[in-house]
């Protein structure tokens, strides 16, 4: 690919991405009320999208073969339990992430790495 072709490709990706972001706002600018159905869907979608994003961020987990996603499952469980108990976003996220890192790196490597930071 020549440099010009590379720049065209990047430009197309930028335009395509922006099309997906701007389209709803172009169809329904501030002066124009969306149909009631669209407004109701807009209220339901954030909750559904959060479920989609959880699945999306885990999409490369191998349920069949590998470690069968056991590390992911454990880290998700820790995140959920900590969040239900203390309801502090940062604490829940930190506990879940540290658990996951310790599991995929091995506890010993992980602790040595943490100690090396200090």
């Amino acid at each position: 690919m020549t440099t010009t072709q590379q720049l065209i490709t990047i430009g197309i990706v930028v335009l395509g991405t922006m099309a997906t972001r701007f389209l709803p706002f172009i169809i329904w600018p501030e002066g124009r009320r969306p149909p009631a159905l669209v407004t109701r869907l807009g209220r339901l979608l954030p909750a559904a999208v959060m479920g989609l994003l959880v699945v999306y961020s885990l999409r490369h987990t191998h349920l069949v073969g590998g470690d069968h996603g056991i590390y992911e499952a454990l880290a998700l469980l820790v995140t959920t339990l900590v969040h239900l108990r203390w309801r502090n976003m940062m604490v829940s996220i930190a506990c879940g992430t540290l658990t996951y890192m310790a599991l995929v790196q091995g506890w010993l490597t992980f602790l040595v790495g943490l100690a090396g930071l200090g």
Partner: protein, 245 residues
């Protein structure tokens, strides 16, 4: 009648300062900072290790600003020139932004000159934070949304640039640190769960996406998931409207 609900809610809130909006936005973006720096550094490093100059990851992270699409674009640039293919792939990978736009139509209303930037910078993580609470107490809504968007973009572009310039120099083993974004989505999902009326849509979103992932595989499940979610919501809506009348 129902369209005035959110406006009535907005009027009741006292307007906060610019600084108060930044102070509210920054701590909420910290998990995103951790995740974006790690992913951004690995993206920048990937680009320069494939022989691209530093300006490429810098410009791509700033202008495309959609993480997974930027990784896909590395492959596009390494293969033969195919503009239509690139466009179709972009639209498929990023179609979920259409949902974000639909949900944010009333939220972004009245944000004036900041609005184009709020739309431009609406990535997954920014949308997740903003839709969970678009207007925390003590903030000005427009400025709060602006700072969440801006801080997240700074983390991403900063990470990509760092990775491109310095390479993979982290001697601290960051393997697994990208789980921070998964954990954040899960926590925001659990927070949605606290609102009774959000439980059904939350569970529909989770199960529909999971089913589509199993059927279509990791590279093709997003659009089918969106279609299934929309179809179920429209059916439920049709049902409840008929009952109400």
């Amino acid at each position: 009648m129902q369209t005035t609900q959110e406006e009535a809610g907005e009027v009741a809130k006292p307007s906060g300062t610019i600084l108060g909006s930044l102070a509210a936005a920054f701590p909420r973006t910290l998990p995103i900072m951790a995740g974006f720096l790690v992913l951004g550094i690995s993206y920048g490093f990937l680009m320069t290790s494939r022989g691209f100059p530093v300006i490429y990851p810098l410009a791509m992270s700033a202008l495309i600003y959609a993480g997974s699409m930027e990784f896909v674009t590395v492959d596009l640039l390494m293969s033969t020139f195919n503009p239509w293919g690139a466009l179709m792939l972009t639209l498929m990978v990023n179609a979920r932004h259409l949902f974000y736009g639909l949900a944010m139509l009333p939220v972004f209303r009245g944000t004036g000159r900041k609005k184009p930037y709020l739309i431009f910078g609406m990535c997954d993580e920014t949308f997740a934070l903003e839709s969970a609470d678009p207007h925390p107490d003590g903030t000005d809504k427009g400025w709060y949304l602006f700072f969440v968007t801006l801080l997240n973009q700074i983390y991403w572009v900063g990470g990509a640039t760092l990775g491109a310039v310095l390479g993979n120099l982290a001697n601290f083993d960051t393997k697994g640190l990208d789980f921070v974004l998964t954990a954040m989505f899960l926590v925001l999902f659990l927070e949605q769960w606290r609102q009774a009326e959000a439980r059904l849509p939350a569970i529909i979103g989770l199960l529909a996406s999971l089913a589509c992932l199993l059927v279509f595989g990791p590279d093709r499940f997003i659009i089918p998931s969106m279609v299934v979610i929309l179809a179920i919501f429209i059916l439920l809506d049709f049902h409840s409207q008929r009952e109400a009348s």
